[in-house]
């Protein structure tokens, strides 16, 4: 975007505030679950107050060990992870992690999952009681855990069942995170909207695999892993565009967002906000740059409110 630099900056600064299912966000930028820990890890690199929201690592009922090592493999312009949803469990989350979150005013979205319908319901119920939880993000799309994501997230009937069950448990906004590993994401999007989702976030990782030629085996101990990073951006953009045109609830765009330009692309095709994942791992200050870059881009074009950029694709 070399041309950006030529132009002069105008005042006043554009408004970046957006609303997702009643949740007001300072700006449309938040971390993607699992790439930002529970927030605390990034406080040396980033002013957490700057963010549109904080999204936590996925929480389950019981603590989860996750997968054996190796859990990571780098791929061209991307990475595979098979963390296996390792997390401290809802108990420890409430007793250990919420304390830190109380110190900041940024909205907190807690990502969660279960291995059974009952677990989903139970975690949702517990989260609903935590004051600091401003919204929940239901992960029905994790491709790593056999008992989890793959079943719930790839069949519209099963997905709808989880969503409506969880819906009954929570008063806070319910965001449902979709898996890209499906034939038609529009069908999934409509199913979860009908079942009561307040917003959709998409996409989660694409299922992939890497091979270690030297050791003559698969690189990840788990066999498959979730592909994220710039490599998946074209697929993510396509799916966000499809979902935006299929539902009337707001959509949060995710997938390979590394720069302000990437974020602006998702907003342009209609995402109301974006989540930044892998970029945080490459550069813990990534989101600060992205927020500043969005502001600069809009200002240079005299766009006064990010909401008039959102969905304004010609």
């Amino acid at each position: 975007m070399s041309s950006l630099n030529h132009m002069k900056r105008m005042s006043p600064p554009p408004k970046l505030e957006v609303e997702i299912a009643g949740l007001r966000l300072k700006n449309p930028v938040m971390p993607a679950s699992g790439t930002f820990g529970y927030g605390e890890e990034f406080s040396p690199y980033l002013d957490l107050e700057q963010l549109g929201a904080i999204v936590t690592k996925g929480i389950s009922l019981a603590p989860k060990a996750g997968n054996p090592m190796p859990r990571l493999a780098e791929t061209p312009a991307g990475m595979l992870n098979a963390i296996g949803l390792q997390n401290v469990g809802i108990e420890a989350f409430c007793s250990q992690k919420v304390e830190f979150l109380k110190k900041i005013s940024t909205p907190v979205i807690v990502n969660f999952f279960g291995n059974t319908l009952e677990e989903y319901i139970e975690v949702a119920r517990r989260l609903n009681e935590v004051e600091r939880v401003d919204a929940v993000e239901l992960n029905i799309s994790c491709p790593n855990v056999k008992a989890g994501g793959i079943v719930f997230g790839t069949d519209p009937v099963t997905a709808a069942r989880v969503v409506s069950a969880v819906r009954r448990e929570v008063q806070v906004p319910l965001i449902v995170k979709l898996s890209p590993n499906v034939t038609d994401i529009r069908v999934m999007a409509r199913a979860v909207e009908d079942a009561g989702a307040d917003a959709i976030s998409c996409i989660n990782t694409l299922t992939g695999m890497a091979v270690d030629l030297e050791r003559r085996c698969l690189s990840l101990a788990n066999g498959t892993g979730g592909l994220s990073g710039p490599a998946i951006k074209p697929v993510a953009l396509r799916m966000v565009h499809q979902v935006v045109s299929s539902v009337s609830i707001p959509v949060i765009g995710i997938g390979g967002i590394m720069s302000a330009e990437d974020a602006l692309e998702f907003l342009l095709v209609g995402a109301r906000a974006v989540q930044v994942g892998t970029a945080n791992l490459v550069n813990p200050g990534a989101m600060a740059n992205i927020i500043a870059g969005i502001e600069e881009f809009l200002a240079q074009r005299g766009i006064e409110d990010v909401n008039s950029w959102i969905g304004s694709l010609k």
């Binding site: 859990r71 312009a77 990475m79 992870n81 390792q86 791992l281 490459v282 550069n283």
Partner: protein
């Protein structure tokens, strides 16, 4: 613990396949502790995407002779070219930009007894594993600890930084697989011999996982305290992705206890870790490079 775009000051070949890169690193001389590491972003392209972790070899401050009477903090990374990222690094020249995140992780823990009750320390380095031992040796020597350095490698080309340790006055013993330098044996055999001479000392080790396993067994048998610096494939380096974990001592399927190499490590007290075959993850170094 900062993330910055900074400049390469120099990038010299030390031995075939090994380089030493000086990087402008304000604050590092004060901040960096022995055993800590940095994450380096080699270029601005998305391929390769991830930063690469490197131990901090040493830090320093250079007086700049220019007009301004300023001084320049720097750090040195000593690295081996093993793949794409390190190959790209080896092409960098003075003035090029790199992304530098650090200093990161927990370094070696120097006991308050050092120099007092604790008078001897044994440092064991396998190949490139020598890197974090230099600053450790510096600090131990400064405390009056007698440092015994044991270095292992496949051949003389893998034994690095001898001159630097010599200048510190550290006594070094060398083992190579092919006998081209020092004794023709494994570095673990040197360790065994050393522990017989100096029982109950503190051992610090860094090198490939199989070497660390052997070191751990030797130390456990000899009753020596051991700290090890581990390697792991890393993405974030700051404890966020959980990609770099090793199994803690009490780890079990039911009661998982995973430790992040990047955050709780890379240096661990041997007692913190489970020493089963899988606990420390797979051997990362290419097959023919194992010690």
């Amino acid at each position: 613990m900062k993330d910055s775009i900074t400049t390469v000051l120099y990038n010299r070949q030390m031995a075939p396949g090994y380089y030493c890169m000086g990087i402008a690193a304000p604050g590092y001389p004060q901040l960096a502790r022995p055993g800590q590491f940095v994450m380096v972003r080699v270029n601005q392209s998305y391929d390769p995407l991830l930063r690469r972790p490197f131990g901090i070899f040493r830090t320093g401050t250079e007086e700049l002779s220019h007009s301004e009477m300023e001084s320049q903090d720097y750090m040195e990374v000593v690295y081996k070219v093993v793949g794409r990222g390190t190959r790209l690094m080896s092409h960098l020249v003075a003035g090029d930009e790199v992304g530098l995140l650090g200093p990161l992780g927990q370094g070696f823990c120097i006991s308050p007894d050092a120099g007092g009750a604790m008078r001897d320390a044994v440092l064991v380095g396998g190949g490139i594993g020598v890197v974090p031992l230099f600053m450790l040796a510096q600090q131990l020597v400064a405390r009056g600890v007698k440092v015994h350095l044991l270095l292992g490698g496949r051949n003389c080309g893998d034994i690095l930084a001898l001159a630097e340790f010599e200048r510190l006055g550290v006594k070094t013993s060398i083992a190579t697989d092919d006998g081209t330098l020092g004794e023709k044996c494994f570095v673990t055999q040197l360790l065994q011999a050393t522990l017989q001479k100096f029982p109950a000392v503190q051992v610090f080790a860094c090198g490939p996982t199989p070497m660390l396993h052997a070191v751990q067994q030797i130390c456990a048998a000899a009753g020596a305290e051991l700290q090890v610096s581990l390697e792991a494939t890393m993405a974030c380096g700051v404890g966020a992705c959980l990609g770099c974990v090793v199994e803690g001592r009490n780890h079990s399927e039911q009661q998982p206890e995973y430790l992040c190499t990047c955050k709780q490590g890379p240096v661990f007290d041997a007692h913190e870790l489970a020493w089963t075959q899988e606990a420390l993850g797979p051997v990362l170094t290419p097959a023919e490079d194992s010690l």
